[in-house]
């Protein structure tokens, strides 16, 4: 449970990072970009967050 506790704090940090990357004003950088670029940015960041969350949550150290 101790390890999960540390993992939990890391997950919260990830959520905050995700909030910054996936909402304005950070997202304004993608406004006006070509459709495919914005699409790739959103899904790329999203997939990255999921990967990081999986790594943090499933690790048993």
């Amino acid at each position: 449970m101790q390890a999960f506790n540390r993992g939990r704090q890391r997950l919260v940090a990830l959520a905050l990072l995700g909030l910054v990357l996936l909402t304005p004003p950070m997202l304004n950088t993608q406004a006006g970009a070509s459709g495919l670029d914005a699409f790739l940015y959103l899904f790329g960041v999203w997939a990255g967050l999921i990967l990081a969350a999986a790594w943090v949550a499933e690790r048993r150290d």
Binding site: L11, T23, N28, G32, S34, G35, A38, L42, W46
Partner: protein, 897 residues
């Protein structure tokens, strides 16, 4: 396409779901749960309803990438695992069965609050259920356009499906009353339907993107060429309400009654959350990848309609009937999953928090005297399920085509978002109280109804729409979409801002101005401190009263059924090693146990009321409760303090033990030292005594003989004196009582002088001495006499061990930037590695001490070591056996200034 074939396919699919549910329930009854972390994670995807399956494409077709907000919010919320874990832990400990139960239990288990939450949930969710029925109807319409909506046996197909869903939900949602209100079979079936809808959507997406077009890049390029589709690709048009929608959906993933049911109530193992944290977001990502491509393709193909039905329309337009059927099953799957879980969750709330409290109040019904109420409870739930679905159907028929799918979904999301301040505040803020929760919820709900629900009715033409355009009573600051003059926001952001703002403000204001009652204070403590394991559960401390075992057992039998009640009580007695529960006096723990069992079946508010009918509870005042809670927290603090002290004590004991061992070692060393010293002193003394005796016994001894003996006596006396001087010297050094005078000393000069003083010794033995000293002074800070003593020690050691006439000794003085090194090298027999280890210990001498006569006192090197170390330097030896030895000391150089 044959309508009957479609009907049979749908019926077969529902039958399969039912079979899975039965299997899951049977395994749960046998104690072999099939709910794994993966099943739990997938079951959360009940979030993706037909609103996702059909509606996302519709939303993308009109609003571009904005639809993603509905899935990004839940992704972020899932990562707030500590919040979710706390919710799950509280629910398990208090046996909470719904979100209404959760909020009511936190604020003193009062029925009024549970009732209000239930009313908001039902009013908020009925349109959402209607939306599912609408989606099914729309997909049937797309499959059979010529019939204009399908009729089965003369009945509207959507009505038939609504009734079938009701029957289905009743069958595996209300089989029995469970103390935990879990439905493992249902969860397994939901996980399965999640896979089905994902596969169906991906199949359509792959077909459209790679079958009809040349992939993402091709679709995006074609879209960019047309003004109508090019607009969808610009992220900018979705950014206006992006953040509010992310917030709204993040709240919905926890607060929608079905999500709370699956996420919290149906959780069998807290560690499953580890998987859900990423598996569910991954699911959301996968089911959304093809939404925009499908929307673009639908627009490029110029399909009719608003995009809600592109998922079916695209395969049909290409003559892919099989794929269209798969898509239909996917959509049906998404709709049924939502309807089943949502109605089960709502029916539990309606039964426990609205109907039962009302029935219990009506004494004329004599409910309290009825022998078995468990049947009645189940029947109320069944009735609630049918009623909720019929309400949904009625709304669907009435609302008609007024709204696109996405509009209705967001209205429901905004309704349940009103639970947020009371729920999250209650988990983390002790001062939050019932008055605050009631006021906040009521204010939020009213604002929601005024700014979102009623305008949607007005749009459907059910009520006049003046209040939207001109404001209520013509007051412009009461315009429904520009409340208090707030303009520039879309209707959802506008509603969310005002409702959550007023909700939170009322919650805080009332909580701060009014105090809690005793039960609230106790519950606040149980919720906020749920993670404090020891002593966290103070509820047993906070009960005082009288009850009879028979009355308690009777109560459990009436509400849970005789068999279940007996099993629960047996398990309670077995866990505590009690042989005959009935013979013992009822204590607070047993009453608490009974309350929890009843809460599982009735909800915590009703459980409290029925329990009060058989238990004479001594009402504790707020003062007393706060006092007990304070004591409990003090006890916790004391026990933490005690733990800390005990840890400190352990550490101190360890240190003492180590010190003791060290003292023993020193004592042993002292004994060794004394015995060695005695031994060393005895050797010369023996010789002196022996020769003196010889001289005394023989007065006529020849003169040369006598001279030789006297010579030996003098030498041995000198050795003795030297030994005693050195022992005293070493003792002083070690005790730190030696007299030191530090001054700047020229080491080069000192080395030369020491060598000169021993010149005779070298010459006598025929040993060559080579000096390599720089001409200029090498200043070090040291005691001149002591340093000379070191030099003489090293040189006389060297000369002692080199062979006569062939011996060579060299002294090198090397200075670096900040240190100076003196190296005394000889060509003697050298020192073995094992000897090196103790060469600097007292009375240890080089060479074979058994066969050779000792050549010194064995104290020279230890004394030299002490001196060099005193001046911040070090002394060591480098040697190989047979290769000579180098004794080296190094001292810090005195800065030249």
């Amino acid at each position: 396409m044959n309508p009957w074939a479609v009907f049979l396919l749908a019926a077969g699919y529902l039958g399969l779901l039912f079979a899975i549910a039965r299997f899951g329930d049977r395994r749960a009854d046998q104690g072999r749960s099939i709910i794994s972390a993966n099943v739990y994670g997938l079951s959360l995807a009940v979030y993706c309803t037909s609103w996702t399956f059909f509606g996302s494409v519709g939303r993308a077709a009109s609003g571009g990438m904005g639809f993603l907000t509905i899935y990004l919010g839940p992704t972020l919320m899932l990562m707030l695992a500590p919040v979710l874990l706390k919710m799950i832990r509280i629910s398990k400990r208090e046996r909470l069965t719904s979100i209404a139960d959760f909020i009511a239990a936190r604020y003193g288990k009062r029925q009024a609050l549970a009732g209000l939450v239930t009313v908001i949930a039902v009013i908020g969710i009925v349109p959402y259920i209607a939306l599912q029925l609408k989606a099914i109807a729309a997909s049937l319409q797309a499959l059979f356009p010529e019939q204009g909506g399908l009729l089965l046996l003369g009945l509207d197909a959507t009505a038939v499906i609504a009734l079938a869903l009701a029957a289905f939900t009743i069958l595996f949602g209300t089989r029995h009353l469970d103390a935990t209100e879990r439905h493992e079979g249902m969860v397994a079936a939901i996980a399965f339907e999640s896979i089905v809808k994902l596969v169906a959507f991906l199949a359509v997406g792959l077909f459209v993107t790679y079958g009809m077009y040349g992939g993402f890049a091709d679709l995006f390029r074609q879209a960019a060429a047309l003004p109508r589709t090019a607009a969808l690709l610009d992220l900018e048009q979705g950014l206006g309400n992006w953040a509010p929608l992310v917030l709204l959906s993040a709240l919905a993933i926890v607060l929608l009654p079905r999500q709370f049911q699956i996420l919290v109530v149906e959780n069998v193992d807290e560690s499953h959350l580890r998987r859900a944290v990423w598996l569910f977001p991954l699911y959301l990502l996968l089911i959304n990848i093809f939404v925009l491509p499908i929307a673009i393709a639908g627009l490029l193909q110029d399909l009719p309609g608003n995009g809600d039905i592109f998922v079916l329309g695209l395969p049909l337009s290409q003559g892919q009937e099989g794929l269209a059927l798969l898509a239909f099953i996917g959509g049906l799957s998404a709709a049924t999953g939502m309807v089943i879980v949502e109605t089960i969750a709502l029916s539990t709330m309606v039964c426990n928090d609205l109907v039962m409290p009302a029935l219990l109040r009506v004494r004329a019904l004599g409910l309290a005297q009825r022998p078995d109420l468990s049947r009645l409870l189940l029947n109320i739930r069944r009735g609630a399920i049918v009623a909720i679905l019929l309400l949904g159907y009625a709304y669907f028929r009435a609302a008609g085509e007024a709204y696109a799918l996405v509009g209705i979904g967001l209205i429901s999301f905004s309704a349940v978002a009103q639970f947020a301040p009371a729920l999250f505040g209650g988990m983390y803020w002790r001062q939050g109280n019932r008055a605050g929760a009631l006021a906040g919820l009521a204010a939020g709900f009213l604002v929601w109804a005024y700014t979102l629900l009623l305008p949607s009715f007005a749009k459907s033409g059910w009520i006049p729409g003046d209040f939207v355009e001109q404001g209520l009573f013509g007051l412009s600051w009461l315009r429904a979409h520009a409340l208090f003059g707030l303009t520039g926001l879309d209707e959802i952001s506008h509603c969310l801002f005002w409702s959550l703002f007023l909700n939170t403000a009322c919650y805080l204001l009332f909580s701060l101005s009014l105090g809690p009652d005793a039960v609230e204070a106790r519950q606040a403590n149980a919720f906020v401190d749920v993670f404090q394991r020891r002593g966290g559960d103070t509820s047993a401390l906070l009960w005082r009263g009288k009850a009879s075992y028979q009355a308690l057992a009777g109560l459990l039998e009436r509400f849970l059924g005789a068999e279940r009640a007996r099993l629960q009580l047996q398990s309670y007695a077995r866990k505590r090693g009690i042989a005959d529960l009935a013979a013992r006096e009822v204590n607070a723990e047993l009453v608490r146990f009974a309350e929890i069992q009843l809460a599982g079946a009735l909800g915590s508010a009703s459980a409290r009321v029925v329990l009060a009918s058989v238990v004479e509870e001594e009402e504790l005042g707020l003062e007393e409760v706060l006092h007990i809670l304070d004591e409990a927290s003090q006890v916790r603090a004391y026990s933490r303090e005690l733990e800390r002290k005990s840890r400190e004590l352990e550490a101190a004991t360890g240190e003492l033990r180590a010190a003791n061992a060290r003292l023993r070692e020193l004592d042993r060393l002292k004994d060794d030292f004394v015995s060695t010293v005695t031994h060393e002193l005895r050797t010369p003394l023996t010789s002196i005594r022996a020769f003196s005796e010889l001289l005394a016994e023989d007065p006529d001894m020849a003169v040369p003989e006598r001279q030789r003996f006297l010579g030996i006596i003098v030498t041995e006396t000198e050795r003795l004196t030297r030994l005693i001087n050195q022992i005293l010297d070493l003792a002083k050094l070690e005790a730190g009582r030696a007299d030191w005078t530090s001054s700047e000393v020229d080491l080069a000069g000192l080395v030369r002088e020491a060598a000169a003083s021993l010149e005779q010794l070298f010459r006598d033995k025929g040993v060559a001495l080579a000096l390599e000293c720089p001409g200029e002074p090498v200043p070090v800070l040291a005691d001149r006499d002591r340093l000379t003593q070191v030099m003489i020690n090293l040189l006389s050691n060297a000369v002692k061990f080199v062979p006569a006439r062939e011996g060579r000794v060299s002294v090198q003085l090397l200075s670096s930037l900040d240190r100076v090194q003196v190296r005394v090298t000889d060509n003697g027999p050298g020192i073995g590695p094992e000897e090196k280890e103790f060469i600097f210990e007292r009375f240890r001498q080089g060479g074979n001490t058994l066969t050779d006569k000792p050549k010194g006192t064995g104290l020279g090197l230890p004394i030299s070591l002490q001196i060099v170390e005193y001046f911040g330097g070090r002394l060591w030896v480098e040697s190989e056996p047979g290769q000579g030895a180098s004794f080296i000391f190094e001292l810090p150089l005195q800065a030249r200034n």
